[in-house]
């Protein structure tokens, strides 16, 4: 399928929010386009998708960009709102959430885990700008070890969810997620393919997508706001799963695909309600 922004914008986005208020050189737009491209390639219409967002760079910049219905939660809560909304929506309606790393893996992790546990049908796109950038640039829970940020001036040294063999993907898989993938923003068509699979899974899907932040992350860690440096730095530290090098931070690809392997949350709940209503028991 053609990879043309103007066509995607005309069909799916509100021009009022395009261009966004993101910083010059921000990589979020690339991730955003990957998601909209995936929706377009699946042939979905505006009415088929309800778009939720969080706070922070990723949430605020993508809020109200979708031409259809859109909602935003406070810090870390959009997953719980989406889980309640899932009960009220029709099964064929898709929920797509574009959120940030702090929102998903920090303050919202409990709600996120319970969405995975219940296999609630939603696609969570975690746009990871390697820390809390809208508050000026503090480290988060997937910030690479050693990264210099405003709150880790000596280098980030805390144990986190992407170091020493730990991976937030393991937590989500253990919690019951049925589709998990990781791509950096530069993965292009491969990322689009993963997002398509995520949306097609009738259950809980999450795609972790690190993207470049030239303004805060790069300026502190690389000492430069030059976009080329941070784009290259992320690309150099990413490699497809199975082809990791010693300095690979992000192994990219599909981590886990158990799409449509177990009952989806709302379907499961409504089936139980129907049965109790009819027979008085489960």
């Amino acid at each position: 399928m053609e990879y043309k922004s103007s066509g995607l914008i005309d069909k799916y986005l509100r021009t009022r929010k395009i261009p966004s208020t993101a910083c010059s050189g921000c990589g979020l737009g690339i991730n955003h386009k990957i998601v909209v491209q995936a929706i377009a390639e699946l042939g979905l219409e505006v009415a088929d998708v309800i778009w939720g967002t969080s706070i922070g760079c990723a949430g605020r910049q993508t809020f109200a960009t979708w031409k259809g219905d859109g909602f935003a939660g406070t810090h870390g809560r959009v997953y719980a709102i989406a889980r309640g909304l899932r009960i009220a929506l029709r099964p064929e309606q898709k929920i797509v959430l574009t959120v940030g790393d702090g929102d998903a893996f920090g303050i919202g992790l409990l709600h996120l885990i319970h969405c995975a546990r219940s296999n609630a049908d939603m696609t969570v796109i975690v746009n990871d700008n390697l820390g809390y950038q809208s508050t000026g640039g503090q480290f988060g829970f997937t910030t690479p070890q050693g990264a210099k940020t405003d709150s880790s001036p000596y280098g980030m040294f805390e144990h986190n969810l992407m170091s020493e063999g730990m991976d937030v993907m393991h937590i989500l898989r253990g919690a019951g997620a049925t589709f998990l993938a990781r791509h950096v923003a530069m993965d292009g068509p491969a990322a689009v393919e993963s997002v398509k699979k995520a949306i097609l899974n009738r259950g809980f899907s999450l795609v972790h997508m690190p993207y470049p932040c030239p303004t805060n992350f790069a300026s502190r860690h690389l000492g430069s706001r030059d976009q080329v440096n941070i784009y290259r730095w992320i690309k150099d530290h990413a490699a497809p799963l199975g082809q990791e090098r010693n300095d690979t931070i992000w192994a990219t690809g599909v981590y886990y695909d158990a799409s449509n392997s177990r009952p989806e949350f709302s379907e499961h709940v409504w089936n139980a309600v129907g049965k109790i209503r009819r027979t008085g028991a489960l």
């Binding site: 859109g70 909602f71 709102i81 309640g84 009220a88």
Partner: protein
């Protein structure tokens, strides 16, 4: 009409179902647990969904989600859970999402005693979240039967005012067994004064008009109306905006849609022996008001010039009932005094305002009578140390 000897939790459950609630999400906490249990049994029988969330913050957010999808939703908790509502409560106020919140008060602070009644959330139900620039509605029943009625009323108000409405009960109301009548059809509901307002879908695109108008349906997701709602200051269409004028429009609506429509709930109170303008007016709400009512009857029989004002609509505070200079005595289930502060604020010039706080238990009739007499005779009310001596 079906009659039961049942708990307030049962009554609240039946009231919610009568009001059209088909979604409940909670988290176990004494003394609101039985309400969740009753919901888990009853909701599937009427085609509704009961869910147990990861915590109270999650529970309220799931209710928000269900309401955002067009379902009438309710959550219930006690003080330690109510405090976790702070975050979603703000969202629901700001996004004008109808839902009903039940709080069964127990003695605090923090976890306190699980099985003792308390009234420590009087102000918390007025200021349940940060930021200001909003008004809240709180209803406080004093019996199981009235709890049912107030839950129906809360759903009605939440739809018309497009906001979360709190029913503030206490452990004795929710856990206590009482004689309860449940209407079985619309005629019986009307007879009992139960009003139901259906959920409608907002057609868009002006989701947050800067007016105090009632009866604007809330934003709904999934109807392809282009509905927008977020935690940020909205434009009238729902776009997020960093602009003070937009904020003024939004704040105006959040405050004045309630303040300019108080006739919706201002009749929710009970007066006892107030017709002859008694020297002493005893002010209370919730369970202690039942003891107060009895004590006032006794006091009258003994010739004391006392009346009782029981508030059901707590917020916005009904200042209009305190315009007559008199002696006011606030009786409430805490020692620090919450209700009494509002009475002090609202009381007419030249009034005297006194306070009788009881902690973890109900006041006794002899205590109340002694205090009534002292106040009427201008004798001082004093406490010495934590072990209360006689008044």
């Amino acid at each position: 009409m079906k009659r039961f000897l049942e708990t307030g939790n049962f009554a609240i459950t039946e009231g919610a179902i009568l009001a059209g609630c088909r979604f409940f999400c909670g988290y176990p906490i004494t003394p609101a647990t039985e309400l969740a249990e009753a919901m888990s049994k009853r909701l599937p029988q009427v085609g509704g969904v009961y869910l147990q969330a990861e915590d109270e913050c999650g529970a309220f957010h799931l209710c928000i989600g269900a309401s955002l999808g067009g379902m009438k939703a309710m959550t219930a908790t006690s003080g330690p859970g109510f405090i976790l509502y702070a975050d979603p409560f703000g969202w629901a106020l700001g996004c004008e999402m109808p839902l009903v919140v039940v709080n069964s008060g127990r003695v605090g602070p923090v976890s306190g005693i699980t099985g003792a009644p308390g009234q420590g959330e009087f102000y918390l139900t007025r200021y349940p979240t940060q930021g200001g620039n909003f008004e809240c509605v709180t209803l406080a029943p004093n019996s199981a039967q009235e709890a049912m009625a107030m839950v129906v009323e809360a759903f009605y108000l939440s739809e018309r005012l497009r906001m979360p409405v709190t029913v503030l009960a206490d452990q004795l109301i929710t856990d206590g067994f009482e004689d309860i009548s449940v209407p079985e059809n619309e005629a019986e509901m009307t007879e009992m004064g139960f009003k139901v307002w259906p959920r409608k879908t907002h057609p868009g695109p002006d989701f947050y008009p800067a007016t105090d108008a009632l009866d604007i349906p809330p934003v709904q997701m999934g109807q392809n109306t282009g509905g927008l709602c977020s935690d940020w200051t909205p434009t009238e269409e729902g776009y997020d905006i960093e602009e003070v004028e937009a904020h003024h429009k939004h704040a105006y609506r959040l405050i004045y849609k309630v303040r300019n429509n108080t006739d919706l709930f201002s009749q929710l109170l009970e007066k006892k022996h107030l017709d002859d303008d008694p020297d002493l007016v005893v002010v209370s709400y919730g369970t202690p008001s039942r003891v107060v009512n009895t004590a006032v009857e006794r006091a009258r029989a003994e010739g004391l010039n006392v009346g009782a004002l029981r508030l059901i609509n707590l917020w916005p505070f009904p200042d209009q009932h305190f315009k007559r200079p008199a002696k006011y005595l606030a009786v409430e289930l805490n020692w620090d005094g919450e209700l009494v502060r509002e009475v002090q604020r609202a009381a007419a010039k030249d009034s005297e305002v006194h306070f009788l706080g009881v902690c973890g238990d109900l006041p006794t009739i002899p205590d109340l009578l002694e205090v009534f007499e002292k106040v009427l005779k201008n004798q001082p009310l004093q406490r010495r140390g934590w072990q209360l001596e006689a008044w």
